[in-house]
Amino acid sequence: MEILTYPDQRLKQISESVESIDKDVLNFIHELEQARMAGPGAVGIAAPQVNNFQRIVIVDVSDMRKPVDNHGHLIMINPEIAAWDGMHMGREGCLSVPDFTGNVIRAEKIKLNYMDETGETHEFESSGFEARAIQHELDHLDGLLFLDRLVSRRSDLFKRKNYKK
């Protein structure tokens, strides 16, 4: 599956909610996971990155070199962040923006709900690196790249910005 890379304008498109989890959706999730695994060190991927504009993301930070808190392998359909708390700057890169990384401020802790691939709804809290990954992927569903949220390294020290929804 081909990964769209910026400046492909399709990455700026807003994705549509999934109405029903049918066979096509399940097949697609399988392909999306293949694409994530093929990306070097990718902890997450969002459907629009492979030219599919449904609100589906996969996040898995359970296999980091230095372990972080996590909820395992997450397949999230129609995910929604219900609450944000705190903020933290971290370095991000993206399969859709090769050969560049930059600093981005994200909420430290989030509360979110989503549907898994069996249609069951979940609500949980995530923090730290996993929360960052989830926010990065959810941004893709709204046509946002980490490039839209870049801050300079100095700003963490001297002028913390308000997190923009």
């Binding site: 990718a42 902890v43 370095r91 890169g93 399969l95 990954a133 390294r153 100095r154 020290l157």
Partner: protein
């Protein structure tokens, strides 16, 4: 194509960046990387430019350098994109200003295996009680613990913070 690194320094004045980059652009030179900042009353520009072998960068910029009294220095670089290490640690240091903070911190970190990619320092506070602030990013070639140990051994009059940069890819 060829790659050059240009350094231009001169008294800060309106339009330096525009004049320099416009002249290069009009001659078909393309900017790969740039870092520019005001240093006191001066303005310093560092550019990595890729350009046609036949272009004489000094000639292209000579008029601007003369009009704006800029010093120009040119180094040749290798035309490659593989020399782009991602930093894995970030260090911030601050304290009451005194001589030798940068030298002391960077020497300790160098011995402990830090390869600096980016460093900035500045003075804040008031004139009679200045504070010194330094931020740097680099590669921990001997591991993060080695750096932390080196920082722990430093004078206690400065605050030092080491953070691992755990780059997210998604």
């Amino acid at each position: 194509m060829k790659c050059s690194v240009l350094t231009l320094v001169g008294a800060d004045q309106a339009g330096i960046v525009a004049a320099v980059t416009d002249a290069l652009y009009k001659q078909g030179c393309s900017l790969a990387q740039a870092s520019m900042m005001r240093l006191g009353a001066n303005f310093a520009i560092m550019l990595r430019v890729s350009h046609d072998e036949a272009k004489d960068l000094r000639n292209i910029l000579s008029e601007i350098c003369e009009n704006m009294s800029l010093h120009l220095h040119i180094d040749e670089d290798v035309d490659t994109d593989v020399l782009r290490p991602d930093p894995d640690v970030q260090v911030t240091v601050y304290g009451a200003d005194r001589n030798g903070i940068v030298a002391q911190v960077t020497s300790a970190l160098a011995v402990a295996g830090l390869n600096i990619i980016d460093l900035e320092t500045d003075l804040g506070g008031t004139k009679d009680k200045p504070i010194y602030i330094m931020t740097l990013e680099g590669l921990a070639t001997k591991g993060v613990e080695s750096l932390q140990n080196a920082l722990n051994a430093l004078n206690s009059d400065i605050e030092v913070n080491l953070d691992e940069i755990n780059t997210l890819r998604g």
